[in-house]
C-alpha cells in the first residue's frame, strides 16, 4: 500500500506471459475524488485511460493482463493492443489540484517463479509558481482574473494550480487589491500582484508539500466607454454620427494615464470604425449588417498606453435596421369647406428589436424621402426631409378647397429612411380630399 494523498504518480507496469500487474487506487479522504489512471505504451505515444469517481474508503481494481486479453475499451473506446506487454502508468486526482486523498497499490506477479513484488512510484512535484496573466491590466473599479501555473517535474507541462493558491494580495492596495484569483483596480498606477499556496514537492515513494509563491506586475488604467446599447445599419453620415461611443475616465476627463490610443473591434468583421483620438476620443461605428437577435453583437474598445499596457471594455449592442413605421390619426385641419388637410406624425421602428427610434437615438437629420409610382397631378410633393430631434418625421396630405373638389387620382407613395423603404401607402385623391391606405410593412 502506497503512501496517501499523492497527486501524481509515475510507475512501470508489465503484463505478458510471465507477469501480470494488478493496480488499485483507493480514496482515503472524506469526500469523493475523481481518479484518472493513464497507462502509457509504445514508448509513451499511446495511452489508455480509465476514470472513476471514488467515494470515501472506496477502491478501484484494475488487472492489466485481463484488460489486454479481453480487449476492454477505455473511456474513449480505445483498447491496448495484445502485443503490448509493458509501459508506465500515471494516476491523477482530478478533484484536487495539488494534493489529494488518493492512494495507490500495485502488485506485479511473476507467473513462472511465483514471486510478487510491489511497484515503484514517483511523485511528480511542481516547479515553482508563475502568474498566468502578466501583466494584469485592469480599470479603476474593474476586475481582472488571475491564474497561477506550475510545471510538473514529470512531463514538464504547465499545470493550472490556481485552486491551490490560498492567498492573493498586492504590494500597494491604494492602486489595486487582490483576492480569490482576481485583481481589482483602485486607482491609476502600477503595483505587483502575488499569490501563495501549498504545492507538491517531487520525490521517490514520497510526496510532500511546501509553500509556493508567484508574483507579477499589474497596471491600473482609467478608461470608460459610454454609448447607446445599439447601433444603426447604414452609411449615411447622420447614422454614423449616431453610432458614436465616447471614451473618458468615467468622470468627464480624459482616459488615464494620458497619451494612450483608443482602438475598437467588433464581433462582426464587416463593422468598420472611425476613431478620433485626443482628450475625449470618439469611436464611430459603421455597420452593414443587422443583428439577428437583441444584443448579439459585441463591440470591444481598447485603451493602450505605450510602455504600460492596455485595458479593454466590451459592450453588447444591437445592430438596428430601419424597418417600418407607425403613425397617428390626425384630425382634419381643412377650413375651406371641402376636402382634408392632415399632418401625419410617423414613428420609425427597427429590426430585430421592434423598438421605436427616439430622441436618444441621435438620428436627427437622417434623410427621409418620399417617392411616387407616378408623378401626382393633384398633389405637389416636397423635396427630401429628415428625421426630427425625436427620431420621427411628419408628412402632410392635403387636398382642401372652398368649392367642390374635382381632381381624382390614385398614387402609391413610398417613404424611405436613409434609403431604406419603411412604408408604402396608397393615396386616393378625390372629392372628399385625400385618404391613405397603409400597405405596410406593419412590423
Amino acid at each position: 500500500v502506497g503512501p496517501p494523498t499523492f497527486a501524481f504518480f509515475f510507475a512501470g507496469w508489465a503484463a505478458d506471459s510471465l507477469h501480470d500487474s494488478q493496480i488499485t487506487v483507493g480514496n482515503g479522504g472524506i469526500e469523493p475524488a475523481r481518479a484518472q489512471l493513464t497507462f502509457y505504451y509504445h514508448g509513451g505515444r499511446d495511452k489508455y485511460q480509465v476514470e472513476q469517481t471514488l467515494a470515501p474508503e472506496e477502491q478501484m481494481w484494475l488487472d492489466l493482463g485481463k484488460l489486454i486479453r479481453d480487449q476492454v475499451a477505455d473511456k474513449d473506446g480505445k483498447t491496448i493492443p495484445p502485443e503490448v506487454t509493458s509501459g508506465v502508468y500515471e494516476i491523477q486526482d482530478l478533484s484536487h489540484v495539488v494534493l489529494g486523498p488518493l492512494y495507490e497499490a500495485k502488485l506485479i506477479v511473476d507467473k513462472t517463479n511465483g514471486h510478487a513484488f510491489y511497484g515503484c512510484y514517483f511523485c511528480c512535484g511542481q516547479d515553482g509558481v508563475a502568474m498566468g496573466v502578466v501583466p494584469v491590466n485592469v480599470t479603476v473599479n474593474g476586475v481582472q482574473g488571475q491564474t497561477a501555473w506550475s510545471t510538473t517535474n514529470c512531463g514538464g507541462g504547465l499545470v493550472n494550480i490556481t485552486g491551490a493558491m490560498t492567498s492573493w494580495w498586492t504590494i500597494d492596495t491604494a492602486i489595486a487589491t487582490a483576492s480569490n484569483a482576481n485583481v481589482y483596480g483602485v486607482a491609476v498606477g502600477s503595483t505587483d500582484n502575488l499569490a501563495e499556496g501549498q504545492i507538491s514537492v517531487s520525490g521517490r515513494r514520497q510526496c510532500s508539500t511546501q509553500l509556493g509563491k508567484g508574483s507579477g506586475p499589474s497596471n491600473v488604467l482609467q478608461f470608460v466607454v459610454k454609448g447607446n446599447p445599439y447601433i444603426f445599419v447604414g452609411t449615411d453620415s447622420n447614422i454614423v454620427s449616431a453610432n458614436s461611443f465616447f471614451a473618458s475616465d468615467g468622470n468627464g476627463g480624459s482616459p488615464k494615464p494620458a497619451g494612450g490610443t483608443v482602438s475598437a473591434s467588433s464581433s462582426d468583421s464587416k463593422d468598420t470604425f472611425q476613431i478620433t483620438q485626443g482628450n475625449t476620443p470618439v469611436v464611430k461605428v459603421t455597420t452593414p449588417d443587422q443583428s439577428a437577435d437583441d444584443l448579439d453583437r459585441t463591440l470591444t474598445f481598447m485603451y493602450t498606453v505605450s510602455g504600460t499596457g492596455s485595458v479593454s471594455q466590451g459592450m453588447k449592442v444591437t445592430a438596428r435596421q430601419f424597418a417600418y413605421l407607425t403613425n397617428n390619426s390626425p384630425s382634419n385641419q381643412c377650413t375651406l369647406g371641402y376636402g382634408t388637410s392632415q399632418t401625419y406624425t410617423y414613428t420609425v421602428y427597427t429590426h430585430p428589436d421592434k423598438t421605436a427610434v427616439d430622441a436618444n437615438s441621435g438620428l436627427s437629420g437622417t434623410p427621409v424621402s418620399e417617392t411616387f409610382d407616378q408623378t401626382p397631378q393633384c398633389l405637389t410633393h416636397t423635396g427630401d426631409g429628415s428625421l426630427n430631434s425625436n427620431g420621427g418625421f411628419s408628412d402632410v396630405l392635403i387636398y382642401c378647397g372652398n368649392v367642390p373638389l374635382t381632381c381624382d387620382e390614385k398614387r402609391t407613395q413610398t417613404l424611405k429612411v436613409a434609403g431604406v423603404s419603411v412604408r408604402t401607402n396608397t393615396l386616393q385623391t378625390g372629392s372628399s380630399g385625400v385618404t391613405y391606405t397603409n400597405d405596410g410593412p406593419t412590423q
Binding site: T343, D395, V396
Partner: protein, 225 residues
C-alpha cells in the same frame, strides 16, 4: 420745358407695362439669395417647372421661391407640354439662372418681391383679374398654424368676386413654429402669399398649379418636386 416734361411723362407712362413685365431688370440690386452664386447648375432634358424645382431644392439659406404654373383647362387634362431643354451653368447667380430658365421657356417671367423670387406666366403680368394680381387693401390672419390656413382668411376678406381657392400637397410638415397673427395693408394676393410662405422659415417655396377651374396652392419648407 413744360412740353418736354409732358413728352417725357408720356414716354414713361407708355413704358410702364413694359417695365412691369421686366421688373427683374430694374429691381434694385440686393445682396442675398438672388445674388447667391452656385458653383454648378445643370439640368438635362427638363421642363421649365422641373428646372425651377431643381433650383428650389438647392441648399441656399434665405431662398424663397414662388412659382405660378401655366394652368391647364381642366384637372383631367394631361400636363401642358412646354419646351424641354438642357442647361449647364457654372458660377452663376440665382438671378442669372432664373433669367436663363425664362429664356428657354418664353411663357414665363419673374420678379422680386421682398425676399421672394416670383416666377409666373407672362400672360398674367398685366391681367388685373388674375388671382395673384388682385389687390387687398387690408387682410388680417389670426392664429394661423400654417400658410394653408391663411387661404381661409383670404377667402373671407378678398373683395368680390369670390375666387375659387384651394391648396394641396404631400410631404413634409409646413406648419409655423407658433400660430401667427398679422395684418397686411395694400398688397397683391401674390405678395400676401409670399408673406405667408416666407414665415415658414429661412428656405421656402410655394407653387400655384392645377387647372383654370381648380387652382391649388402648395406651401413647402425647402424645395419641391
Amino acid at each position: 420745358m413744360r412740353t418736354l416734361k409732358g413728352i417725357a411723362s408720356l414716354i414713361l407712362l407708355s413704358l410702364a407695362p413694359a417695365l412691369n413685365a421686366q421688373q427683374h431688370a430694374t429691381a434694385p440690386t440686393v445682396t442675398g439669395p438672388p445674388d447667391y452664386k452656385l458653383a454648378e447648375f445643370e439640368v438635362k432634358d427638363s421642363s421649365f417647372v422641373e428646372a425651377v424645382s431643381q433650383l428650389s431644392r438647392q441648399a441656399i439659406e434665405g431662398l424663397h421661391l414662388g412659382l405660378e404654373e401655366v394652368l391647364r383647362e381642366k384637372m383631367s387634362d394631361p400636363p401642358l407640354q412646354g419646351p424641354h431643354f438642357s442647361l449647364s451653368l457654372h458660377k452663376s447667380t440665382v438671378r442669372e439662372i432664373v433669367d436663363s430658365l425664362c429664356s428657354y421657356d418664353s411663357r414665363y417671367t419673374w420678379s422680386l418681391d421682398g425676399k421672394t423670387i416670383n416666377i409666373y406666366p407672362k400672360t398674367a403680368t398685366a391681367d388685373d383679374a388674375y388671382l395673384l394680381n388682385r389687390r387687398l387693401e387690408q387682410i388680417t390672419v389670426t392664429a394661423i398654424p400654417d400658410p394653408g390656413q391663411g387661404l381661409t382668411f383670404l377667402d373671407r376678406q378678398l373683395p368680390p368676386p369670390r375666387e375659387q381657392l384651394g391648396y394641396a400637397g404631400a410631404g413634409g410638415d409646413f406648419s409655423y413654429i407658433a400660430p401667427w397673427t398679422q395684418t397686411f395693408h395694400d398688397l397683391t394676393v401674390r405678395q400676401f402669399i409670399n408673406r405667408l410662405s416666407e414665415h415658414m422659415g429661412s428656405h421656402t417655396s410655394w407653387v400655384f398649379y392645377g387647372s383654370k377651374q381648380e387652382r391649388l396652392f402648395t406651401f413647402l419648407k425647402g424645395g419641391f418636386h
